[in-house]
């Protein structure tokens, strides 16, 4: 399973490095979202700075949808599912591999977004350990749910609209917990973020486990 996961993740990341869709499109998209939040909330830093954790995570959530869609788009357009199924790979391995590749890309994106939040909203990045821990745990949860629903949607004609509808409500606890953890870290009280990190960890573990079990049947259907 892990061998297959590494194989799939390596393949996805290699394709990403070649095509640079993440770098050239998803990154700028996330930046545009940050700028639009700034415009929507006005130039007042006293408004923007306290909201920066939430805005950061909303931007991450929206980017995850694009990242997951891209992750399934690279499976050669219409033969996507057939190719993966014919490959003889362990479905759980495919799930972990694809989710893993999404995690890596999102973590890179989050680093850039964190800098963006600091520069644009004047958020003071403190409590680095909590910030990073939140990103890692939260991203695992997001990537797991995204990859799971991504395979449901990937074979369907209505995938572009179905994926966000399925994905966003389910990951609402991630948005909540990650935002609160970041709030505590940015407010200089990272010690109080522990409980929120627990929520993120539980979420990630539950959905990674669900994915390992449910990905196979979902890949077969369609």
């Amino acid at each position: 399973m892990l061998r297959d996961a590494v194989l799939v993740a390596g393949k996805d990341l290699r394709i990403e490095i070649r095509s640079r869709v993440g770098l050239n499109q998803i990154g700028p998209f996330a930046l545009a979202v940050l700028l639009l939040f700034g415009l929507a909330l006005g130039p007042d830093r006293r408004v923007l700075a306290p909201a920066s954790a939430g805005l950061f995570w909303v931007a991450v959530l929206l980017s995850t949808i694009l990242g997951v869609q891209r992750s399934y788009a690279i499976e050669s357009v219409d033969g996507a599912r057939d190719g993966l199924r014919l490959s003889g790979l362990d479905p759980a391995g495919i799930f972990l591999g694809k989710a893993g590749a999404v995690v890596v890309q999102l973590l890179v994106l989050e680093t850039a977004l964190a800098v963006g939040v600091a520069l644009l909203y004047g958020a003071r990045l403190s409590g680095a350990l909590v910030l990073i821990g939140t990103c890692v745990l939260g991203t695992f949860g997001l990537a797991a749910v995204g990859t799971l629903y991504g395979v449901v949607a990937s074979g369907l004609r209505i995938r572009e609209t179905l994926l966000p509808l399925l994905f966003l409500p389910v990951v609402s606890p991630v948005l909540l917990a990650a935002t609160k953890a970041w709030d505590e870290a940015l407010a200089g009280t990272p010690g109080r973020a522990g409980g929120w990190l627990d929520v993120l960890a539980v979420f990630a573990v539950l959905y990674v486990a669900t994915g390992i079990v449910a990905f196979g049947p979902l890949l077969e259907d369609g």
Partner: protein, 251 residues
Amino acid sequence: MRASTRTVPSERVAVALRVLGVASLVGVVATVWLGLFVTPPDEFMGNLVRLLYVHPPMAWVAFLAYGVASLASLLYLWPRTRSERFDRLAGASGEVGVVFTGLTLVSGSIWGRPTWGVWWVWDPLLTTTALLFVLYLGYLALRRVPGEFHVRARRSAIGALIAFIDVPIVYLSVEWWRSLHQAPTVLNPTTHKTYVHGSMAWTLLLGFVSFTLVYTWLVAHRYRLAELQDAQDTEGLEIALAERRAEAVGR
């Protein structure tokens, strides 16, 4: 395996369903009559207390419906209990659950406006309910995706369980999120205990019972509708198969 879709519900089921329908209708009418005209206004909330005879039952039925949908999905996924009936039950209960969730939100909001002065507060229960509403709207959208029966059924069942796992996490994190902020000092209906006494308590109890009966009746009818639609699909398949085989002869 598909043959079961053909069974026309027996007379006894039809009669039972009709009795159930009459009972729930009587129950609701009685609840409304007691709620609006018999019970006295509350000393703190005045007439607004009358909304509380319908709002908590709505929420209870919504959660019951999701519980039933999740259980049915689980039973469908479990190989030994796999049956088309559980898929239909999950779908029926999920849809009725969404209707009741919508009503929970609307009735809560209508109660909140004069009580709190706003249509919406970020109360943990209210927020969780709203998230559940969109979560299960997604489930219904997933169910509507066409496909071969067992493919669609399995996909939907997995979708229902993904949503179900989420419910406690959503509830706990929202609860915790709210408790960290100091809630606005409003009259909180869950801590305000004096409103349930005498005829009011009976009315509320009757509300719970009769709306649960309404739920059962609706699910039964939604289930029968799904059964008929599936039977139609099966018949369509048989015709399609005959047509497909006829292609070979036309040449």
